[in-house]
């Protein structure tokens, strides 16, 4: 799938405030967010700051989406657990899955193995994106964020986006 199609799916699901920290797997997505005036994108200095910005935007009436690499999950775990989960402040987390199936640079392998379990531990719902389930998963995420009002993650391994 191309970056533009991916963003169109997110936008048509209702996500209208984007922030995050880049990963090469979503490099084109973020470049497009920066370029296209129809998107609101705030580059964040760190993943927990992105989650904080998204929370503020939600309080102000937006439907936020945070993009990050899975290395950033640890960085923002406290924000997710002590802000989003207790106040019921939802956001969609698009989390690139570096170290998926143990194939990646050494710094990605530990989190690559643990990232889904980490979310399970704190009871955050997630799905793994595949080339075939992107549209369906984005719709699912919107259901969770609007009904349960908690964050939800879509893990994005290599090969789903072009």
């Amino acid at each position: 799938m191309k970056a533009e199609e991916f963003l169109n799916l997110l936008a048509s699901a209702g996500y209208n405030f984007f922030t995050g920290v880049p990963c090469s797997l979503i490099g084109d997505v973020i470049l497009l967010l920066e370029k296209e005036p129809r998107f609101t994108y705030m580059p964040a200095v760190r993943e927990d700051v992105a989650v904080g910005l998204a929370a503020g935007a939600y309080l102000g009436g937006k439907v936020p989406c945070v993009l990050m690499q899975n290395s950033g999950l640890g960085q923002c775990l406290n924000a997710l657990t002590s802000l989003n989960l207790v106040y019921k402040i939802p956001c969609l987390l698009i989390v690139t899955w570096r170290g998926y199936k143990g194939k990646d640079a050494p710094e990605h392998l530990v989190m690559g193995k643990a990232c889904a379990k980490v979310l399970k531990c704190v009871a955050l719902p997630y799905k793994k994106l595949t080339p075939k389930n992107v549209a369906k998963s984005i719709k699912w995420s919107r259901k969770i964020t609007s009904k349960k009002q908690i964050p939800v993650a879509l893990f994005l391994p290599k090969g789903v986006l072009q």
């Binding site: 964040a44 927990d48 700051v49 989650v51 904080g52 309080l59 102000g60 009436g61 937006k62 106040y87």
Partner: protein, 199 residues
């Protein structure tokens, strides 16, 4: 100056500004002094008051947003300052009560005794940044900052002191705080819309 006296003055001076209050003593004090629907009391997520406020300020540019922060919080998320400076939202007033300690955990030292947070804010792009150490200057600065175009940063040096005995926790549930806050934002939107349609 004493933390409670500074916060009392802030809470009494505020009009319809929205407040994001940092976790710990600052939220508890603000809650006890003047609970209002426009207050968002952060109970966890230390460091993120400035980021939450920024997300709100850019989304609702018609709302003035006051951040009640502490030195420990600011130091924990220093990146939050240039994040604000880069976007220059005119509706952010960042007030930092600096007691040079982690007050809510028993006054262990932070590093703000030797670090000039107001200069970091200035270098981060805040349009206005001042440090005040006594009451007269603080009151004067507060009035000025509430009217001035932001983002502005007011560092208020306060005494490190024992937390007042019996200072209650925020008794509202987090979800109540969220709903009430969001409702207040909606109402200000409706109110402003009526004014603009009427004129």
């Amino acid at each position: 100056m004493k933390t409670t006296a500074v916060l009392k003055c802030v809470m009494e001076t505020l009009r319809d500004e929205f407040v994001v209050a940092a976790n710990g003593r600052i939220s508890r004090d603000a809650f006890t002094l003047k609970d209002r629907s426009q207050n968002f009391y952060m109970i966890g997520s230390m460091g993120l008051a400035s980021s939450i406020a920024l997300g709100l300020a850019v989304t609702q540019p018609q709302c003035k947003v006051v951040i009640l922060d502490g030195d420990g919080n600011v130091l924990m998320n220093l990146g939050g300052l240039p994040q604000i400076g880069e976007l220059l939202p005119p509706n952010i007033i960042h007030i930092v009560l600096d007691n040079e300690t982690y007050g809510s955990t028993g006054n262990q030292a932070t590093i703000s005794r030797k670090i000039y947070l107001e200069k970091i804010a200035q270098a981060s792009g805040y349009l206005l940044s001042e440090k005040v150490t006594e009451e007269g200057a603080f009151k004067h600065a507060l009035e000025k900052f509430l009217d001035a175009q932001g983002p502005s940063f007011l560092l208020v040096k306060v005494e490190a002191e024992e937390e007042p005995k019996g200072l209650p926790r925020v008794s509202h549930s987090p979800i109540f705080i969220r709903d009430r806050f969001m409702e207040a934002i909606k109402n200000i939107g409706i109110c402003r819309m009526n004014i603009s349609f009427g004129s």
